[in-house]
Symmetry: D2
């Protein structure tokens, strides 16, 4: 108990869950040509526990219990650094695509634990503890459905013409609650064991019906998952070396009168806890985000250096300038991520990453990501958009022509491999996917700026300014 | 004569040309599911001449001869503005994708005319004039093969281990020349009538074999076109409203001992003319480029405004800031393009756009294009990467769910239409295609900077500085 | 009549006006060591009319009347271009410092003329016409007091604890009005003949007392001018080659129960006209602004090129990159300024520069000006802040040491002259003065963005986006 | 012994040193109206040791020896953090102006120690150790003369027409060497005890004469200090609250046949050691730089927040956006500085800050500093350049007028104090001084980029890219 194999994880997904892909119901997720790829990508998380090199990071021992290190509650900076390293390792094994089937779920559990403890919510806490122990013991995979569909963004939940624009309690029963509404951008839902539902914004008086947190098994009746096909396609791994083998699936996650028994409801009818949870969750989740962005940034830097050499331009002044910027950008994000862990703070015995620093890391990542894409495209050249197909490369007739004419300072096979990697990362669907994630996932740039504004402690700066202005004594 | 219908143009493409797509020879371009789309996109150029609203721009009358306005030799600023407007109109009709089957070819003819006249090359000029008259009379579609495959970018043509890295003369015969080598990024080659070949860089002593310009019919023996499949796919026009109906195809353009009769050789063995042609061509071609970028920029601005309204965020301060930047960016490019025409200069009776201003327009476009993509993605939201497929939308079962939950301040059908347009423009393959073009097509950003550095007239600025420093009298 | 000499202008300033400098009343402005420099700088405007090379731009003939071209009412694009060129010429003669004693005043007169005519205010118009004819006939110098001191920026005029935070009518009498309050940032007030007072913001119901426009002679009783000494100092023209000889003075302009006869009141008690005037004034005044910024930009570009040569770094790649950016920045502002004139619009027979384009030019100027300063400082080197004083240079003992050790690729005298010019433009008080003006003068960057947002015509862009999204037919 | 009082330090400067200011020889530095201010500013360093709150950072105890903590050789990350905090504290006490009379000198001693030890230069090491012990024991103040005047930057030392463009050995004698030439930008030279001379660039074969390091007392015969008067002026502390009381002086530092006895020569005739010293020195000195920039950044952030409140604009969206950026910028520099210490490396038992991270911190600081200035100027408003003089404020007649009209949301005295602080920091001479330092001091931006390019370890990034491209196994 406590650790499952990848196969056990995959077998656990056969539970009649209601999943739709391209308009059709998917009978068994793992057997679907697209969703199966995504599930097996997620399964890398379980393989890490079996890998002798990764085990130290991936597995935690407490007494004689062994369990996934994601379920370890961080107690200090070192624990947070280990968590960050594990996320980075998993994403690196996932070829720059985060695994996320435990990362985000444990972010949610940690946040709920802090909020409930902070508010002395003993009943909620004991339900959460039971849920947590079960997840840990059975090594469960978790999704978090947070972002509501939101309807008109200029209106609050209770002001929307259709009350279902935010997931809400439609009925309270002696044995539990019934919820309806929909969440969007829910990652990995089709291939996890449990879906944790959190509020996505601050709530106020009048928003009680929309103010709850709970968890349900993915196969729960009335829970419907409508998959996005954004990264569709498993052929041509010549031009798509990553996304033919690594996928993540997001769903529109519809709750159609879903029943949730009380022991799975962590709180409800509490705008105060809802607001606190929304904020506290991102304190963990943005740290997860900056941790999992690091391999993507490394891949861009590494591919940029490689293609500069492959093209024979690595000694040009402007190329060095671009590579220096690229490295400086990536390493600033890495440095601030590390610092967010080192500067951690404590609440209720739980270490959490420094809020301002975490948001600063994410903001640094997000506001220059498109410039990084541009820079690598610039180094790579126009073949990104005009290069040959895998079928061309695989043709016995065409290959010699392509090998002759597509060489640079490196032979064509090596140069094309790097170019196609860059194509995926910057120009094709996977690049677009990561670009949108950079702006919107784990909170938009605007959200990060607001968080920075709120979290900034101005006392040292204002104190100095007032003293220099002669308005305050030291 | 002088004007063909779209159908005449398309029928003219059945000539046994040697075209490959995804590893296979294409028997008839217009019947190919992908290339046919591209050819019909290009045919819009011919339809404009038939369209009562477009005719004034698209058709030129000289005496009682009517011909495509692209073949009109510009004599003043007004002619250049008309040319720019025609390019913009065609691209707008092409849904932001340039048509290019006459734009680039006439850029090349104008450049060759200036260079040959400047150098009193009467033989070359008379060959060019004959070729030009034939193109104009038969309303031919033209591609320009300029960029060589280049091999190791740190080496000149004559230094490359394989001499074919730049197209070259391998034999001179009494009746013509034989050429070998390959060009890359050649746009529209599979569906034009003639391919004009120009040198791609400055040449010097020792580079004679690589220093020539000529034209051949696309069906010429030994000319092989290997298509890129980058924009492949004609299904799902829900998520790809542009690129399922509008495509441009680039080729690796291989010359395998192609014979070119002397009357089609405009010059050869002349590094001086080669260098001059490479530079003069881009003086026209970058003006074409900035003209055809305008609808793309308008589409980004318009889609940005529309999605802000559709999401209900158009009154937020940061949204107004972003829309203002976006409009300012697009209108700066438009304004500088207009100015490049208004400030035109004359050579040999030909008006050409102001070199510094044209490059400044292109540089302004190119260095902020990725920021524009980022801005529109930011306004649109995460659904760009997590939204439903066309098959979902078309499913009778799913549609009501999607209509309920994907509405914003606008109903779901309108909101999703704008979102999917933005998806194409910024996040999916078409967006990646345009992003790479922004950096590399018609000269890279670095090339534009070099052109600006060379074209800048420092006399006013230095004169003022020296006078202010007391080092020079007025 | 119609044209005064510089001396006539200067003599006209002896009228007992109430001017304070560094805490003391200034008896005669032209005899003051600092204000006299500023007055003589302004007098360059009058000298231009006497200069054979400038006369064509500076003097306008109507019938047999000759008058300052600033008083010419622009009727088409050409007139606006001439106005722009005259402003540029005057500023160039003023060593990058605008003269402004007619520029801003005629901006105000043109704006009032449009607003009053638009609203059929015949009485106001005839008063304005009389005032205008008088100014033109006597070749008067004008200041415009627009920006109120404003108090708490989060409050409207009528909400301020002290009603004098915006200039207001405190009494209406049969023969005129009595006004109190203060304006700030009023340029050139101490050495002009007339002060025109305009509202500085949109006004609404309740703001009647603050809603008027009028003009008074500078020597009017109760009008008090408190000069800023920001550019103080006339010694050491070695390190301050510009500002020892060229100054502009801004005042805190206090109205202490100033009486204004009705024939000098263009309107009062009219929030609607006040709002319209505030907006219409900047339509002209921002065009003036971008016109007068051009010599400053040229000086930065020219000095940048010169110091790169003087230091021997002009062949370095990063230096060329910086010079190219600098030239591109300056020329974009120049190009958009030209375009604002070429795209002019007409109201009541008056040509005014294209509003969106003018604001775009100003926005382009303002948002990169500090980067331009940084770039030139970067090229110049640390001597900007560690170089010798004029007294060092003038010392017979020290000069040989400085000449030996401060040479670069140019001899020390030439290199130091360029360095000191750059010091003035970027690092010393004059540089700081221009930097603050770049952000705040003639409307802040935020004001320009708002103006762009309002003036942008979205129809073409939205029309295209909606058509591409399939939501609108062509 | 080991710690001097401020007075002892100041008295020690009376040694006949040859100092020039504004063309005249200065008899006693501490009695000079300008240089005395600078010397007393430097003396803050000595006061810190007497201050009970600062003593822990400022004083180091080893056995029963007490000495300035600057002379503590760092052995781990904690020592480097303490050094950084001490530099920050001193600069904060110096009102954002670094003290630098021990910071830079100990940077030099640490660098020499590493280079000599690395190269087993036992003689050099023992001379250095003796010099170090003397400095530490007598609590000496040190300047470092590194940057040569350099002449034509495109030529190496030995290629310059005048060999004195880099300081060089003109004669070797049995008892020592004789040196000539000049250094520039030498900070604090007039008021330190010793001047350490280091090479400023990499040297090669043929550059032996320019390849040495040594130290001389400031009063040494033939050593002449020509002061820059850039921050001249001690009056009007209303508008110049910092620079009237805090100054740093840079000199042109001329060596006119200066004799240096062998025991003060750390090496000579060794291009290899010269190159290594130039590089190793900046590894420490850039860490000093980013440490001392922190109070300046805090002052900008604090003043930005204060003026937003004082003007009543702190709730505007664009103001929050600007303050967030400002805080994010400052804190990124701070975070990377901290990280540079935490990631320290060891050589010869000496801890030195992580090279890449240090340069990244400095690069981050330098490339956005002008944007920070712009941002604070933007928040402050035009009064920065048009506000009243101290003499106005101090006038009994004018004060009430100014108090009435210059108030914002805060009363005028508080608002003007903040505005004038901002004026100093961003717009007046002190702002220009700091702006030039940001670009050029402790290595230019280009130098930092080169250092980053060299120090970046690409193995992780390239390894990942190659693995993803299928070109390398894990």
């Amino acid at each position: 108990m406590g650790l499952r194999t990848a196969e056990e994880f995959l077998n656990g997904l056969r539970d009649g869950r209601e999943v739709y892909y391209r308009g059709e119901r998917v009978p068994v997720v793992t057997e679907h040509p697209e969703l199966g790829v995504a599930a097996r990508h997620a399964a890398i998380d379980f393989r890490l526990a079996e890998d002798s090199k990764a085990r130290d990071l991936a597995v935690h021992c407490e007494g004689n219990e062994k369990f996934s290190a994601f379920y370890k509650i961080p107690r200090d900076a070192k624990d947070l650094m280990s968590r960050s390293k594990l996320i980075e390792l998993g994403t690196s094994e996932g070829a720059t695509l985060v695994l996320l089937v435990k990362e985000i779920g444990t972010d949610a559990l940690l946040a709920l634990r802090r909020v409930l403890a902070r508010n002395k919510e003993s009943q909620g806490l004991s339900r959460l503890e039971a849920f947590y122990q079960n997840c840990r013991k059975h090594d469960l995979a978790l999704a978090v459905a947070q972002t509501d569909v939101k309807g008109d963004r200029s209106k609050r939940p209770s002001e929307q013409p259709d009350p279902d624009m935010y997931v809400r309690v439609v009925e309270k029963r002696p044995d539990g609650i019934v919820v309806s509404g929909a969440k969007v951008h829910t990652s990995c839902t089709p291939y996890v064991d449990e879906v944790i539902v959190l509020p996505s914004r601050s709530m106020g008086a009048g928003d009680e019906a929309w103010s709850m947190a709970f968890a349900v098994p993915t196969g729960t009746k009335g829970l419907r998952l409508y998959c996005s096909d954004f990264l569709h396609g498993t052929d041509d791994d010549f031009t798509r070396p990553i996304s033919t083998k690594h996928k993540m699936i997001e769903t529109l996650t519809v709750f159609d009168n879903v029943f949730v028994p009380w022991e799975r409801v962590f709180f409800e009818g509490r705008p105060d806890l809802a607001s606190a949870t929304a904020l506290t969750f991102v304190e963990f989740h943005r740290f997860t985000a900056v941790s999992y962005k690091l391999p993507l940034l490394d891949a861009l830097v590494g591919a940029g250096i490689a293609i500069a050499k492959a093209n024979g331009i690595d000694r040009a002044g402007h190329v060095r300038e671009k590579l220096t910027w690229l490295g400086g950008y990536a390493e600033t994000v890495r440095g601030l991520t590390e610092l967010a862990a080192l500067r951690c703070e404590m609440e209720e015995g739980i270490a959490f990453p420094h809020v301002f620093t975490t948001n600063m890391a994410k903001w640094t990542f997000a506001r220059d990501f498109h410039r990084a894409l541009e820079t690598v495209q610039d180094l790579a050249g126009g073949l990104l958009a005009t290069g040959p197909a895998g079928a061309d490369w695989n043709s016995l007739e065409l290959r010699p022509v392509l090998e002759k004419y597509l060489r640079g300072a490196w032979p064509a096979d090596k140069r094309m491999a790097v170019l196609n990697l860059i194509g995926e990362l910057t120009t094709r669907l996977y690049g677009g996917y990561q670009a949108v994630l950079a702006i919107h996932a784990e909170g938009s740039i605007e959200a990060e700026k607001m968080a920075m504004f709120r979290a900034y402690d101005p006392s040292r700066a204002i104190g100095l300014a007032m003293r220099l202005a002669g308005l305050e004594k030291r």
